[in-house]
């Protein structure tokens, strides 16, 4: 490598001998001009109109013509071969009366079983399955004039108990109406109800009068559920507990509820029937039909043992045990007759307990459950 200088090595040297005064003054003047220039540049920092670089907010609130866009509704999938011809439309479990001149099906009825219910209602599926879910039929209706859509879900819960249980969960605390055997309540944009083993939900995508009218019409249409025997097992046999409460004790269907599992928050207590004796908002009468007297006795023993943790045992004889809650001061009474377990929960006072127990006992004796 040849060594050579990279940078300038020459030292600067001043050859001139004198610097005139005029040059001194010029230099000073130029220096002042340069300093002034720097000052001027720095002083420009804030000299701009910030509102030019942003959209003044008041402009956004000015009166402007509004733009409304037409949104083409979702185009539904139709399986090839499933025709949507009005005449031969397969309604599945739906009564054909759900369709009328204004509200026409958008797509064929879609069916879901317990295996694929998650696809439809992921989060909720468990709720239905544990109440005996058999099949969901799904139908979308659309009103011709404005494209309002009504989604109908019809759940076959297998038996009356499942249907009642699901309905009770939905209804919790609401005023329930009854019409032509359909128990229902109207929601903001639809209706929820049940009949027989069926439970249905109908919800529109907006709220208006047409929707309310259709909801009322749907209740009438769903009255045809089961009764037409269109699907064969529509008129399933009425469960014994339900029959006792409805026919024997005269409760209206809307007043009867069913709980499949976890009754009184105990995992051993299953399949209880409840009815509202009309004492206050919380008090309820319960009835359980066990497979035989031994099972009923075992359940009663378990119940008594667990209840003792929170309740004070007041009074008992061979027929019944009365508890009072340690803090709430409500009364809980349970009794057994053969394979039946019955009683009252959340009673505000002891008044009325004996009368109700007597009525139930009388009915059970009539039903001939002793043994």
């Amino acid at each position: 490598m040849h060594r050579s200088a990279v940078f300038n090595t020459r030292r600067s040297r001043l050859y001139r001998r004198q610097v005139p005064k005029a040059e001194h003054w010029s230099v000073a003047a130029i220096a002042v001009v340069l300093a002034a220039l720097v000052y001027w540049v720095v002083a420009q920092r804030e000299r701009f109109d910030a509102s030019e670089r942003d959209l003044p907010i008041e402009l956004l609130y000015q009166e402007r013509p509004e733009i409304t866009l037409y949104n083409r509704p979702l185009q539904r999938w139709a399986e090839p071969g499933e025709l949507r011809l009005a005449g031969e439309f397969d309604f599945g479990n739906f009564p054909p009366a759900v369709r009328d001149a204004a509200w026409q099906p958008v797509a064929p009825v879609r069916r879901f079983s317990a295996d694929n219910l998650y696809q439809k209602i992921n989060g909720e599926a468990e709720k239905f399955i544990k109440q005996g879910f058999v099949r969901l039929d799904y139908l979308l209706l659309r009103a011709a004039p404005d494209g309002t859509e009504f989604a109908l879900e019809l759940f076959d819960q297998g038996d009356l108990g499942g249907s009642l249980g699901v309905f009770a969960e939905h209804a919790s605390g609401r005023e329930v109406d009854e019409r032509d055997g359909v128990s229902f309540f109207l929601t903001a944009a639809g209706v929820i109800g049940r009949k027989g083993q069926y439970f249905f939900r109908a919800a529109a995508d907006r709220q208006d009068e047409a929707v309310s009218a259709k909801a009322a019409q749907l209740v009438i249409a769903f009255a045809a559920l089961g009764g037409d025997a269109g699907t064969g097992n529509g008129a399933a046999e009425v469960p014994e507990g339900f029959a006792l409460l409805r026919d024997g004790l005269g409760f209206g269907e809307a007043a009867i509820q069913f709980q499949e599992s976890n009754v009184f928050q105990y995992d051993f207590a299953e399949r209880f029937w409840f009815a509202d004796p009309g004492i206050d908002a919380n008090a309820r009468l319960f009835l359980h039909v066990a497979s035989d007297a031994d099972a009923a006795r075992a359940l009663l023993d378990a119940l008594l043992e667990e209840q003792a943790y929170e309740y004070q045992r007041l009074d008992e004889d061979q027929e019944r045990v009365v508890f009072r809650h340690e803090f709430l001061n409500t009364y809980f009474v349970v009794a057994r007759a053969g394979r039946y377990l019955y009683g009252l929960d959340n009673m505000p006072s002891e008044a009325g307990i004996e009368e109700w127990l007597a009525r139930v006992r009388e009915q059970l004796a009539e039903a001939g459950g002793d043994g």
């Binding site: 300038n8 050859y15 001139r16 804030e46 670089r53 959209l55 402009l59």
Partner: protein, 552 residues
Amino acid sequence: MKGLRASLARRLEGVPRNWLRLTRVRVASQVLFFVLFVLACWATWTSRLGGYPVSGLLELDPLVMLSTVLATGYVYKALGWALIVVALTFLFGRVFCNWICPYGTLHQFVGWLFDTRSAPRRIAQNRYHPLQFVKYSILIVFLVMAALGALQIGLLDPIVMMYRGLSTFVAPIADSTVDRVGAVVEGAGAGAAFLDALKFSPGVESRIFVGSFWIGVIFLAFVLANLWKPRFFCRFVCPLGALLGAIASKSVFRINRIVDKCTDCNLCLTRCEGASDPQSLVRQAECFSCMNCIDDCPEDALEFTAFRQDRKQVVPYPDLSRRKVVFAGAIGLAAAPMMRNNGRVNDANFSAAMIRPPGSVAENEFLERCIKCDQCINVCPTNVLQPATLKEGGIEAVWTPVMNFRIAHCQLKCNLCSEVCPTGAIRRISVAEKLGEGPYAKQGPVRLGTAFIDTSRCLPWANQIPCVVCEEVCPVAPKAIQTHDEETRDVFGQMVVLNKPFIVPDLCIGCGICEAECPVQDQPAVYVTAVGESRSAERKLLLRSRTPARPI
């Protein structure tokens, strides 16, 4: 007065008498302007801009002013500042070249730093060279072209070259170097945010500039040429120097040689920047007024003066014959239409990719104004503005700003490119005007182009895969990208809901964020083309807008 002078004299007593020299203050001025220039590029950034006159040196450039006046007939915004430099030149000759011009300072510095020649060769290299006339020919060619509407001075104007080189070539290199240092600092566990102040573009991913390689090559080639011929660019090429030289022929002050003191030692040539022959008949048009020769004269035979000038010891005018002027003019006359007829402007063949920043005037007028300084490209916070290559606009539009939505999008509430443009190629607009709000509601938003969907590449359209990033990011309200919603069973039998996007051209402003964010990255399934841009009636797409709220 006398007392003041006495006290000043007392104070200056300790200072050597040769301290207050013009060469000293000249260096100070050069350093100051160079630093201000770099700071201007540094401040040309969204978080720093404020009201700083970042394009100030371009507005001081008389060549920019003269050529745009020739092309457009008007003086835009602050271009009149150039008259200050014209006045300075009339007074003191080409002081701009050696006191102000940052490109000249760079050349001088590099030439000085690496100059290892012996004394006699130093003197030889600074003699006047007959080819120094070339810069005047270049000037004539460019001015004739400008008068015909093809503004190309930006290719060689020193201030423009400096801006362009600094913003598209030096700044990214500097930033990536700082980033590398930052990676090391952070690797050592310390915070590296303090390095942001050193970056030209803090707070964004690394910027890229298409074609900046060639900008860098040309920039560096001229800088390295100083090792061969000192101030090569300034002496032989610079059209601004030529213009100032022509003016300097009439300057009041000039270098004057006092012949009876002169011993013909030629030492005055040792550091003569302009190669202007102060040792014999000083060439007034070539002299940079650097004052080095005065310092280097052992006989004090040289002076910078308005009076006492020796009329016989000067060649005032450039070395330019009528023959040369005629040829240069003829080249200019031919070159302008050659460029225009290259077929990329307002004819049937305009490029779909030639999407100009918001506020740009129509293409024909744009090319009469744009000097390719790339200030707009430097200030663009998203990096969407790029120097055009031959692809978008042909030879005439090389290095003019063009939007590349593959890289980024045009920020909705940003008008910085229009603020920094010195020549009005991008007219100064406010954000309200850009978006067509308030007083501008009648004329509608500035539309850069129109978006289209390539349904053969769009995931929901072509592949049954949900996506609609484009619809999500569309910034106008209501969105210019709407969807057809469709339920379908895909090829694997799964039910999917596809939102298939389509464009509402009445609402689209062509900002390109859909294209920038499209996951089909290499050839986006939604893309913006120039048609429908609001700056030009000839590139209209729609007859009228279907909604009165967004007029076209």
